[in-house]
Amino acid sequence: MSDKTDTGKNRVVIPIGPQHPSLKEPGCFIITLEGEKVVDAVVGIGYNHRGLEKTCESRTYIQDLYIIERVCGICSHTHSTAYCQGIEELAGIKIPPRAAYIRVIVAELERLHSHLLWLGVAAHEIGFDTMFMYTWRDREKVLDILAEVCGNRVNYGINTIGGVRRDLDDYMLDSIQKTADVLEDQIKYYLDLAQNEPTLEARLSGIGKLSKEDAIKFGAVGPVARAAGIPDDIRVIEPYAAYGEIPVNPVTDTHADVFGRTIVRIKEMLESINIIRFCIKNLPAGEIAVKAPRRIPAGEVISRTEAPRGENIHYIRSNGTDKPDRVRVRAPSEANWHGMNHMLKGQYLADVPITIAAIDPCYSCTDRAIVLASENGTNVTGWQELRQYSIEWYKKRGIDVASVKIPDKKIIMNM
């Protein structure tokens, strides 16, 4: 016991977040340090809950598309694709092949920009700002193309139920082709840099280890799983959109650490460029959308897509009206958080930011309100109780907020 108190004295608890320069969105990591070594880490997420799933239930399917597009600021296309193809399956619509190809092109452009963004963020986390500037410069090229194709840099708004909203003309295809050529050279340069720059390897190798067994145990997805040697890629194992006709080689690596994840992401970008080239070459002619009914037949569906961060799952339940009964979004970051504590333990403090960044976390995609059901039944706090609780909480600290009157609107009470 005395040993425990001895070590306990040397421990320092340092909070990373909710506001911290290494986090791009609010999240809180309570790191317990012994010297510079991490002995314990508590992952605290939930600062960004926006109630999107609930909002979806009060709007029509086509209005929900707007909300679903905004689940994630980086990979918005993959969410709208998952949502649309789920509804299309419920309604029994088959989208035209040209629409499927356009969805793939936008999805791969999105993967390119997401991975380039990640590469920059990762480089910044380990203090390699030059690479950060370079990758973000190249990311601009992808964003320019996306703006040209979709009209927006992010939140592309190209998907609609039954197809896509904008067609690609020859000029656009040509400029995508040209950008792909430029990017390919740059990405090959980054691959060379990642493999040969000694300080990069020193900072990335052996950090944030998540072995194959652990990756399966914690249910890791996407590049985190693929870096551990698990060929888990929805584009291959359950092809959607036009991926069934397109040759996709899932990239895996055996390093199972941050270095492996970096290599996987860079190689995936090269693969994305190949897919884009294939799509442009084999883009079928024809319609880009079919008409979808406003009322979707009752039923439930699970739709999966491969987001840049991993497997993205949407569950939609319809009750036969024009509004969904339930929409559930399982963003890839949600699956990758579980292994975080395991990855952080035993690291140096200096490696904490890059370990967190290595799963490419998307905080706001992840935050959900959940109801925990225990043996004593569920414990749901209503609006009034919650308000009373907060008033008492402040009263204890000497602040009386009870004098402030808030009109209890019906909508709020119904929650």
Binding site: D129, M133, V352
Partner: protein, 310 residues
């Protein structure tokens, strides 16, 4: 008396050091930006930053030791300024020179790092404590190779005065090339001394936010930043005086040459900063002891042999 005061306070003393420090910061940021495919700041940006900080409110944390918190920035700046008067800038001689001044300069150069450590320590914050401990840990790593590298040329010159060393080497130019390994050791260790990437873990933004200086604001931060810039000038001047003692013998061309030499050293430091990722403190320490120190020891032995042969 008055000429001494002018030398200390105006040229080539404090005022010149401060202005050149701001110019150096501009060059540093500008070259760094160019290497990263960015435009970089306008020439007046460092001055504007300085003036802005001077005008801002200074907040002293309730837990901090207010006295130390206030005094340390000035101590840091004063030490750098004091060290600078022993480094030759204008003409052959430094403003003040005596036998053994290089030792004084090296000691004074340690003061800014120590003030940084104490500043972080007395701020009583989590990030500042970690940052300051890192700064001190790094100091034990780079100090030995830096000292050995800077002192080894004096073995051949058989003097402990920077001015006399520079004079000796300017008369015996071939010997300069003997010191090339020590030159590189000094450049790399100097980068560590200045806490710049890849050795910037004490102030690693993504880990410890701003490190030791996190609680500093307003005027006190401005003075610390100024002492940072001056330290950069000091290290560049010292390295160029010891390892690049090429001189014409006339004061004005020598001064121009001084600027060329220091800017060349700066460019090397900037390229190094932009081309590498930040090393962890433990990696930095093992790098200094495994690679820099042996090279520095090799240089000392080499110079001792050369000296006995002479």
């Amino acid at each position: 008396m008055i000429s001494a005061l002018i030398k200390i306070l105006i040229f080539p003393g404090f005022l010149f050091l401060a202005v050149y420090g701001l110019i150096f910061e501009y060059l540093d940021r500008s070259i760094y930006a160019r290497l990263q495919n960015r435009v970089g700041p306008p020439w007046y940006q460092p001055l504007a930053d300085f003036l802005k900080l001077i005008g801002k409110e200074t907040i002293i944390p309730a837990n901090a030791n207010a006295g130390m918190f206030r005094v340390l920035p000035s101590v840091s700046l004063a030490a750098v300024t004091a060290a600078f008067v022993y480094v030759p800038v204008f003409g052959k001689k430094a403003s003040f020179a005596f036998e053994g001044d290089i030792i004084i300069v090296l000691y004074l150069m340690a003061v800014p790092t120590l003030s940084l450590f104490l500043a972080g320590w007395y701020s009583r914050g989590v990030y500042s404590t970690i940052g300051s401990v890192r700064a001190l840990t790094q100091m034990f790593a780079y100090e030995v190779p830096l000292f050995m590298a800077l002192l080894s040329p004096s073995l051949i010159a058989s003097t402990w005065s920077i001015t006399e060393m520079a004079e000796f080497y300017s008369q015996h130019v071939p010997y300069i090339f003997l010191n090339i390994p020590a030159f590189f050791v000094a450049l790399v260790a100097g980068q560590g001394k200045l806490e710049r990437a890849p050795f910037d873990s004490p102030e690693a933004e993504t880990e410890v936010v701003a490190g030791a200086l996190i609680e500093y604001s307003g005027r006190l931060l401005a003075i610390f930043k100024m002492s940072r810039d001056c330290e950069l000038v000091l290290v560049a001047s010292l390295i160029s005086a010891v390892f690049l003692p090429f001189m014409t013998g006339n004061a004005v061309p020598d001064f121009l040459l001084y600027i060329v030499k220091t800017v060349a050293v700066l460019i090397f430091l900037v390229v190094m900063r932009s081309a590498m990722a930040r090393l962890r403190t433990d990696q930095m320490v093992s790098f200094c002891w495994k690679y820099l120190t042996p090279v520095a020891i090799f240089q000392v032995i080499l110079n001792l042999i050369v000296r006995s042969v002479l």
